[in-house]
């Protein structure tokens, strides 16, 4: 209790407030929820540090200025009480000085809200309006990519493969909401053959809204899994939103990942399914998995392609096969498709392998859903290693399904039988442990209370022959 109160007056308190805002992406609601949930502000910054961006530096400066002003005003009231007999001046002045951490933590959102309401929202509205016209007029094949998981990888995959023979533009990184689409549209030359647009759903109605803005002619649905359930509430609601892309396209040129169990309920006959068995009439055979490559054969009649990708895991084969088949359908030669697949590499922090101290680390820390965990644990099972280590904090934003999802994660990990499981300690750890128990996990379990120390000193924990699967991220705003 005492250390919690002291933390409010620590010199680092201002940095903590700026850090909370920065990690909440300056969203006032989630920042205030985090603020009021926090009991000790000295324990907030555990995984990262405040990035010295212009807004962050301005915030820190503004907060300090505000604190100084507030204390000065408080002292002014005390002075007025003392020398001018200003009634209540002493009490009010002292209260003002004591309460500065709480008052400034709330006052800081005022310029953010004003900026959002008066500048950002109107500007975004105008941008979106202008972007819709660009999308309508553009003659390119417009491919929308939606799904609870794997959409960034699919977008990059399609851009790489189709880029071998076509002029392709794709939304950058994980910029996948309306305003990002608008900025993307603004930067188009008009000469592109293919546009690939990622839809980052976050709340009911998002995907339908993105479709109305970007007017896609084809749609890829990478799967449905529990994600953003704090907003969607149910998996069905998330699936309905994602499949509103198929509704927009009236079922024409809709491609769905057939390996997604939760997507099955939404798939209609006229949709095209793709999987590790094949895509668009092409059949997959001879899958070979390794720690840095995935190889397979794609054939249709007498036509055969031997494909090799640096994307890892059996779960990637369906996406790779689909990208290859779509490339052929859109007019690429077999050589171009083979070269394109050969160039596909993992996106940063998505099943990205690297060597450390002689060990292989597979960094999948950007994964945020159960299907990704299923794929990661399956990959861990399929690859040989002297010692297998699985590391996760669990998944955020699982809403009402939180307990059952994490229990299933524990069971999936247990089924992969790693030698060592390291769980980053938080509110879901006990559920994962319950899943490990019900899955009869026999290996060693470590509960890590200092995630940052673990991740930054990973080289101290591994040696030659180790295979480490790092999955998921647990930002500091979650408990």
């Amino acid at each position: 209790m005492i250390s919690a109160i002291i933390s409010l007056y620590s010199p680092n308190y201002v940095n903590v407030i700026a850090y909370m805002l920065q990690n909440s992406e300056y969203r006032v609601g989630s920042y205030l929820k985090w603020f009021w949930r926090t009991q000790n502000f000295s324990n907030v910054i555990r995984r990262g540090t405040l990035k010295k961006t212009t807004p962050a530096v301005a915030l820190v400066f503004g907060l300090w200025l505000g604190i100084i002003l507030e204390i000065a005003i408080g002292l002014g009231f005390i002075w007025a009480w003392h020398s001018r007999n200003f009634t209540g001046g002493w009490e009010f002045g002292v209260a003002l000085i004591i309460a500065y951490p709480v008052i400034m933590a709330h006052l800081v959102v005022v310029p953010l809200l004003l900026g959002r309401w008066l500048v950002i929202n109107p500007r975004n509205y105008l941008r979106v309006q202008a972007a819709e016209r660009v999308f309508i007029d553009h003659k390119a094949v417009k491919i929308a990519v939606a799904g609870s998981y794997g959409k960034t990888t699919m977008k990059e995959l399609l851009a790489t493969v189709l880029g071998e023979g076509k002029n392709v533009a794709a939304t950058p990184a994980n910029k996948n909401v309306g305003v990002s689409h608008a900025i993307f549209a603004k930067n188009l030359s008009g000469k592109e053959d293919i546009l690939i647009i990622e839809y980052g759903e976050g709340a009911p109605g998002d995907v339908a809204r993105f479709a109305r803005l970007t007017h896609p002619s084809r749609g890829v649905i990478t799967g449905v899994a529990p994600a953003h359930l704090d907003k969607y509430k149910t998996l069905e609601a998330a699936g309905q939103d994602i499949f509103s892309l198929a509704d927009y396209l009236h079922g024409k040129h809709v491609y769905v990942n057939d390996e997604s169990p939760a997507a099955q309920a939404f798939i209609k006959d006229k949709y095209h399914r793709y999987s590790a068995a094949g895509a668009l009439g092409w059949k997959v055979s001879g899958i070979k998995l390794a720690v840095s490559t995935t190889k397979f054969k794609l054939s249709k009649g007498k036509k055969t392609l031997d494909l090799s990708s640096k994307l890892l895991g059996r779960h990637q084969v369906g996406s790779l096969a689909f990208a290859a088949a779509l490339g052929l359908e859109l007019g690429l030669s077999r050589e171009q498709v083979t070269a394109g697949i050969d160039k596909t590499v993992p996106f940063e922090h998505r099943m990205q392998p690297y060597s450390l101290n002689g060990a292989w680390i597979i960094d999948d820390t950007y994964n945020g859903n159960l299907e990704g965990i299923r794929a990661g644990t399956q990959l861990l099972t399929s690859l040989p290693a002297r010692r297998k280590i699985y590391v996760t904090p669990g998944l955020v934003d699982q809403g009402k399904e939180n307990q059952s999802v994490h229990r299933e994660i524990g069971e999936l990990i247990a089924a992969a039988s790693p030698d060592l499981v390291i769980l980053m300690q938080n509110s879901v750890t006990k559920y994962i442990q319950a899943g490990l128990n019900s899955g009869k996990y026999q290996g060693e379990l470590i509960i890590e209370s200092h995630p940052l120390a673990f991740y930054t000193n990973l080289s101290e924990f591994v040696a030659k022959g180790d295979l480490v699967m790092l999955q998921n991220d647990w930002p500091d705003q979650y408990v």
Partner: protein, 382 residues
């Protein structure tokens, strides 16, 4: 867990790196132990403070200013080892196990282990007896020879003996051994004070250097067609070898202090080499399978013969024409625990220190079970 480092030794600075980077850091990351750093300064005072875990305190040169504000700690042997930190209110830190991280004299040579034995506290690594033997190159050779292990032909003498009759000793060495020769102080590690000589004048100069460092010296024949290898080993009874490691050297050179610790490559010639014992050696050594096995077997035999425990590193010399493997010396506390080699053998830094602690505890449990007192009526007769 007290990690003791520094000490009055020529390898004082190497010890700081071993303690902080190779021992304290992985120990703390393991989250199994509460680590208490205990630093012995060059003047022999003992200090303990959490800030002594920070390497920058030493690398920045601020250590002297820091120590000037500290009061040395005292040791108490009441039911184990207690560190007494003086202050407004004296603080007592009960130590369950000591991790010695001192290299060379006044530490690695058995003195620190003897303190632990007196205090009846568990400690990591070689025990008093094996540390004393390992740190005396002459004694180690004598024990190895008694166990049928081949070692290069040598002559040893004390400083007093040499100073009493230099001519006799120089003539005796020339008569007994053939050039080129290596002159070594008997008790120092990290190749300090070692010189290779090819004539009488060089021999005289080298011996004069050696006796500056030590009261006992050793002159031995160089091995021709040399491949030098070293083998880190873990274990008390059941031994676990790491990988044979081969320094990348020219045939006329040897591992000196600079090569090992300062330049990361052969006397600064290596470009882009790493610091410390990485980047200048081949792991595993590039040897034919039979010869590799022979050297590994010799290393394990030496470790057993000398009674090592916990960990040690056995250095060997191989004549590549005759394939004879010679025992050279044993290092009972390899610099930085030779963790780079263990990493390649599949043991991480965290696993390594945890294993070493477990081995130390096992030995303590085993020796604690021995009877150390004996009831007699001897005194009643007086």
């Amino acid at each position: 867990m007290a990690v003791v480092f520094g000490s009055r030794s020529t390898e004082h600075d190497v010890s700081i790196v071993t303690a902080i980077a190779a021992i304290i850091k992985p120990l703390e990351l393991s989250q199994k132990y509460e680590v208490v750093p205990v630093y012995i300064s060059k003047d022999g005072c003992w200090y303990s403070d959490p800030l002594l875990k920070d390497i920058s305190l030493f690398s920045s040169g601020k250590i002297d200013a820091f120590l000037s504000k500290q009061r040395p700690v005292a040791l108490q042997f009441d039911d184990g080892l207690i560190i007494l930190k003086p202050g407004l209110k004296n603080q007592k830190i009960k130590i369950d196990i000591v991790f010695p991280a001192t290299h060379g004299t006044h530490g690695e040579d058995g003195e620190l282990m003897a303190i632990c034995e007196m205090a009846n506290v568990a400690y990591v690594g070689c025990d008093v007896r094996s540390s004393v033997i390992a740190m005396d190159k002459v004694l180690a050779k004598q024990i190895a020879e008694a166990n049928g292990i081949i070692t290069p032909k040598y002559v040893s003498f004390s400083r007093t003996d040499f100073e009493f009759d230099q001519t006799h000793w120089l003539n005796f060495i020339e008569k007994t051994l053939s050039y080129p020769l290596f002159v070594k102080p008997a008790h120092l590690g990290s190749s300090i004070g070692i010189n290779r000589v090819t004539n009488k004048q060089e021999l005289k100069n080298a011996v004069e250097v050696a006796i500056l460092y030590d009261d006992k010296s050793l002159v031995e024949e160089a091995v021709a067609n040399l491949t030098e290898v070293t083998l880190p080993i873990l274990g008390n009874e059941k031994l676990e070898p790491a990988l044979l490691e081969e320094p990348i050297l020219h045939s006329e050179d040897f591992f000196d202090f600079d090569t090992k610790y300062l330049r990361g490559g052969k006397k600064g010639k290596a470009q882009g080499a790493k610091h410390g014992s990485q980047g200048y050696s081949k792991v595993p050594a590039d040897l034919p399978k039979d010869l590799y096995k022979k050297a590994e077997t010799t290393g394990l035999a030496v470790y057993k013969a000398l009674g090592c425990g916990g960990t040690a590193r056995v250095d060997m010399l191989i004549n590549r024409k005759t394939n004879v493997v010679y025992f050279n010396e044993v290092n009972p506390l390899p610099g930085s625990l030779y963790s780079h080699n263990w990493n390649k053998a599949g043991i991480s830094n965290v696993e390594l220190v945890v294993k070493l602690v477990d081995l130390g505890l096992q030995r303590f449990a085993s020796t604690s079970a021995l009877t150390s007192t004996f009831d007699t009526n001897f005194l009643q007769q007086f």
